[in-house]
């Protein structure tokens, strides 16, 4: 079917765009939104072969990276509008690139390509071709820097420079790459772990560092930092700039910016709570903002003041942090233009600059200056608690309320964008990852406050995550290669299913097909293992100690190959003294000790695991692999998903006899959330696989995130959900036990308690309510099970 589709698409290239569009609309597997995006991109392509490449690749992208689909289309269109030749190359290479990079990195990569294409189509095509190769071995940020270098050659202008640039990109070699490496840019990728640890040390809390296009901020859970910084001419200074950002943001975790509790402190704060009609006991800063008619204004004021508060505390607590803080300030580009038509915004801006730089900005109209002074008075009185910031926020809000221009537009209703902007800082940053785009430059003068800001990327990122959830839902299982799978396959395995209402098995009810997962890039695995390097080292060491040495030299044996010298001397002396206790145990013997365990890991790959649940499961699996390699147990990794009883997919990530290496790592990296989960059948198939192993201990570890659930194929058949699915799963586990397999279930569903005791009644299980602990807990559980 896939081949057929591709063939059809190739034919389409001879047709007119209208017909092309119609053809796409026929394809029910795409949602309307996706069809639109595709169509849009296709229309932008005057070049037919580029259009065909787009359609060929779209399948790949939609199947393997649904969350990146829109970005992929969107940037594709941008490239296409610059050059069709470049676009064709982009569409050809991007599915592979997506295996290597994050969505936002894809965007950076493609946008750079589009910029190059504006200067030279040929150079852009070479850029896409070569960078795809480079990405296999180098981090994306390095590759992009390499691209930027090449773009620099183009920018010199003239024919000679185009030739040089094409050559530069075509080389795509280490040599051209090395040239760019000397740059002083600091990369988030290289420093993320140091910054995370630094933030954790400062705040005493868990800190999660996330890349964002060019903005920085925190939503109380993660700290968002630009993917690269180049504000200074030394890499070390740029690293310190990262450090300064991390300290400011981690400081918000440490000093309670997200835990406002007006009821807790002083009379004045309690009065404020009453005046704002906050229900008693309300905690959290966001609830406070919501009490204002214009929450966004309140939040903006709060962010500005709170940032100043954090800096004040940091400088006092840490005598040495001043240098970093100054680096941060010097990297900011002050806004010189004040929008007099929007006085409230101008006041806020001037207030922010005054707080940051310790002086009123120059060229500010006297009327505004006066108001800023009033505001400054309000903040000078503020103390170190977050509640003090809230009080000052209220005072300034009341000052600004009456002034025109305070009506900030809501960018997203209901303020879900806590993460936007850095503490309300709307100042530009020198040398952050990207030079501002053309639109950016145009809008910069007017839109620094209130309008669209560079943080848009971050918002997109968040919305993309939300959309991904929807996409996963709308993608019908198996819909991507439909008929191919739907056909009854001869190599499918048939299993009975327990029908608790009937009280009997439905014979040969389920059809399970093994799917050999194509290996992807090992980059995910390598990154994850690097991030968890300490845990991996610890687990490996621990498991190694459990490993019985093949031939252990046992001392003081009554029989053996060699004489135990120590024991012999001792026994000689004893004989002399006349008190023999050794009784001739003076030999060493090599004893064969063997561990005989086979373990199969069965992972639920249903849609509900999308996002970081799956991500964490994959990390946990990688760490398990490392541990199991250390101990030497045989193991296999399987995943399962599917839709309807006819199409249960049993994904083979690693078979028992397969080596753990790049291929397996790549497969783990490729594991993704798919559709439904019919646990019973998958457990039965995994049991069959384990039965073929000859180990004494056969262990089946099932990792799932909740209730088994599958859709109905034909009317009249029982739904695989609720009690039915629970009972079938229970039965499947019971069968496994009867066959000499020891099942153990790990579930990461917090609300699992109600049905889980029924489902896992026959076996042992563990509920892990904090998914992030899975990588640590899994090896511990395994060890307990097998020793």
């Amino acid at each position: 079917m896939l081949e057929d589709y591709k063939k059809r698409m190739r034919k389409l290239t001879d047709l007119k765009p209208e017909i092309l569009g119609e053809a796409i609309s026929e394809l029910s597997r795409f949602s309307d939104e996706q069809r639109n995006a595709l169509l849009h991109a296709a229309m932008a392509l005057a070049n037919r072969s580029a259009a065909s490449q787009l359609l060929v690749s779209s399948l790949d992208v939609l199947r393997n990276h649904p969350d990146a689909f829109y970005v992929w289309c969107d940037v594709g269109r941008k490239v296409a509008s610059a050059s069709a030749v470049a676009a064709e190359e982009y569409f050809r290479r991007s599915p592979e690139v997506l295996n290597e990079v994050r969505k936002e990195e894809l965007e950076s990569w493609a946008r750079l390509g589009a910029r190059i294409a504006e200067k030279s189509a040929e150079a852009a095509a070479e850029y896409f071709r070569s960078s795809c190769k480079l990405l296999r071995t180098l981090p994306p940020s390095d590759v992009i820097r390499w691209g930027n270098e090449g773009y620099g050659i183009l920018e010199d202008g003239g024919l000679a420079s185009e030739k040089a640039a094409i050559e530069y990109f075509a080389l795509g070699t280490r040599k051209s790459f090395e040239r760019s490496r000397a740059e002083p840019t600091a990369l988030l990728e290289e420093n993320a772990r140091v910054l995370k640890l630094y933030g954790e040390a400062i705040s005493g809390k868990d800190v999660d560092i996330q890349p964002s296009g060019e903005s920085f901020g925190t939503d109380g859970r993660s700290i968002y930092l630009p993917v690269s910084l180049n504000a200074y001419g030394e890499r070390e200074k740029n690293f310190k700039l990262y450090r300064a950002l991390t300290a400011r943001l981690a400081g918000r975790f440490a000093y309670g910016s997200f835990d406002l509790d007006l009821g807790k402190v002083g009379l004045e704060a309690r009065e404020l709570a009453v005046r704002r009609k906050l229900p008693p006991g309300t905690r959290g800063t966001e609830a406070f903002f919501r009490t204002y008619p214009n929450p966004l204004l309140a939040k903006k004021i709060f962010d500005i003041l709170d940032d100043a508060r954090i800096e004040r505390i940091l400088r006092r607590e840490y005598a040495g942090i001043g240098d970093d803080m100054d680096l941060f300030k010097n990297a900011l580009v002050a806004v010189r233009k004040f929008e007099v038509t929007k006085p409230a915004q101008a006041i806020l801006q001037a207030l922010q600059e005054s707080l940051l730089f310790g002086a009123m900005p120059e060229g500010i109209p006297p009327r505004i200056e006066e108001e800023v002074k009033r505001c400054l008075l309000a903040c000078n009185a503020a103390g170190d608690r977050v509640e003090d910031t809230a009080l000052a926020t209220d005072r300034i809000y009341r000052i600004l309320e009456g002034i025109p221009g305070s009506e900030f537009e809501f960018e997203v209703p209901n303020l879900p964008n806590w993460g936007q902007g850095f503490a309300g800082l709307n100042l530009g940053m020198k040398g952050s990852a990207w030079r501002p785009s053309r639109e950016g430059i145009e809008s910069m003068g007017t839109a620094r406050l209130g309008g669209k800001r560079p943080t848009a990327i971050l918002r997109k990122l968040l919305m993309g995550a939300a959309r991904r959830v929807q996409t996963v839902k709308s993608l019908r299982p198996g819909s991507l290669e439909p008929t191919e799978l739907r056909k009854e396959r001869e190599d499918a395995f048939r299993y009975d299913e327990w029908d608790c209402d009937m009280g009997d098995y439905r014979r040969r009810w389920c059809s399970v097909r093994e799917v050999k997962v194509r290996p992807g890039s090992a980059r995910f695995a390598e990154r994850a293992l690097r991030e968890h390097s300490a845990l991996v080292a610890g687990v490996r060491r621990e498991f190694q100690m459990f490993k019985p040495e093949r031939l252990r030299k046992e001392k003081r044996q009554s029989d053996g190959e060699e004489v135990d010298i120590d024991a012999a001397i001792e026994s000689l002396l004893e004989a002399k003294v006349g008190n023999p206790t050794m009784e001739g145990r003076v030999y060493t013997r090599r004893n064969k000790v063997q561990r005989d365990v086979s373990a199969a890991f069965l992972v639920d790959m249903s849609g509900s695991t999308a996002g970081w649940v799956m991500d964490t499961e994959k990390r946990a699996l990688l760490i398990m692999c490392e541990a199991l390699e250390a101990i030497g147990d045989g193991y296999a990794i399987y995943g399962f998903s599917g839709a309807t009883r006819d199409h249960i997919e049993f994904h083979i990530i690693k078979e028992f006899d397969e080596e753990y290496g790049q291929t397996v790592k790549g497969r783990i990296g490729r594991m993704a959330s798919l559709s439904q989960n019919r646990d019973g059948a998958a457990i039965r198939h995994a049991t069959l696989k384990l039965e073929q192993s000859e180990s004494k201990t056969k262990l089946l570890v099932v990792i799932s995130d909740g209730r088994p659930l599958d859709m109905v194929p034909r009317p009249g058949e029982p739904l695989y959900q609720g009690n039915y699915s629970v009972q079938d799963t229970r039965m499947a586990l019971k069968e496994a036990k009867a066959k000499g397999v020891r099942p153990f279930c790990i579930t990461v569903d917090k609300k699992a308690a109600d049905y889980i005791s029924t489902m896992y009644a026959e076996v042992n299980y563990a509920i892990i309510d904090d998914v992030s602990k899975l990588p640590e807990k899994m090896p511990a559980i395994y060890r307990r099970l097998t020793t």
Binding site: A201, I202, G320
Partner: protein, 285 residues
């Protein structure tokens, strides 16, 4: 650097080497020990009742210092055995030696401590082989007996004798855990890094630096301890803070001193080291 060097050479050497028989080693000068809870009282009560004591806590939290202090306070000889994985029961109890064709029995450190009626301190007991933990069993219950199997003897411990073991639960793997049957024979005192104020006092006293500098070091210690279990096996110990303070006292800059005494020793993980050094740079200008 040169100036520092000169200053260091001007140091007066106060102590010369001295040697005692193992069981005749007494702590002669009062060691500095700052009581955090009521550990001194409990130890004395345990000693008076013939109960063995287990000291549990991370490295550099004052376990060994406490034992020294108690030895001084109770005026008992102190026999310390650093346990390691090749330590056998013969190493503790004693063995026959060959001397010019003749055999001679030689008491092990435990036997000597029992006979002398002092403190036997088995440091990091879990590191020793399993059979060693078993030989101490009869010594740790009401019998207070040390069987010397090789000589067919049993030694009854005098009232003055007390067995002390130390145990660091932090970095021990499950494999090397103490068995319940062993651990429940001991009175257990938990050691941890002392509260901020107390720790600063200790650092200042031990190193001779000013109180405010000691406080900064303790603050650094706290921040580094936030990284425990996030890649660090153990937090920065009080001992490490004292070392850093001593280096600072000798004229090394705080940043270099902390690097040498804290960031470098605590981890081989380059990124972790860099993160810790970043905290150092935040605390010390």
């Amino acid at each position: 650097m040169l100036a520092v060097h000169r200053e260091l050479r001007a140091v007066e050497y106060r102590k010369e080497a001295a040697s005692w028989k193992m069981e005749e080693y007494f702590v002669r000068e009062e060691p500095y020990y700052r009581e955090v809870g009521n550990e001194v009282g409990i130890f004395e009560a345990a000693h008076a009742n013939g109960l063995p004591v287990m000291l549990k806590g991370p490295t550099g939290s004052g376990k060994t210092r406490f034992v020294q202090y108690m030895a001084w306070r109770l005026k008992l000889p102190l026999v310390t055995v650093a346990c390691h994985e090749d330590l056998t029961s013969s190493d503790l109890i004693g063995r026959y030696l060959l001397e010019g064709g003749e055999t001679r029995w030689s008491d092990g450190p435990l036997t000597r401590a029992v006979k002398a009626g002092g403190i036997c301190y088995l440091d990091e007991i879990v590191e020793a082989r399993k059979d060693t933990t078993v030989v101490i069993h009869p010594l740790t219950d009401h019998r207070r007996l040390l069987p010397v199997e090789k000589r067919g003897e049993v030694i009854e411990a005098p009232d003055r004798f007390i067995l002390v073991i130390s145990y660091n639960p932090g970095y021990q793997s499950i494999l090397k855990n103490l068995k319940q049957s062993t651990r429940q024979r001991f009175v257990c005192l938990e050691f941890d890094y002392p509260p901020r104020e107390v720790e600063a006092e200790i650092v200042a006293h031990e190193s001779g630096v000013r109180k405010d500098l000691a406080e900064e070091l303790v603050k650094l210690g706290e921040k580094v301890r936030n990284l425990k279990a996030k890649g660090l096996e153990e937090g920065a110990s009080t001992r490490a803070l004292i070392y850093a303070a001593k280096l600072i006292k000798s004229g090394i800059t705080p940043r270099s001193a902390c690097q040498a005494a804290i960031s470098n020793p605590i981890t081989d993980d380059v990124e972790m080291g860099r993160a810790i050094q970043s905290v150092v740079e935040a605390v010390f200008p």
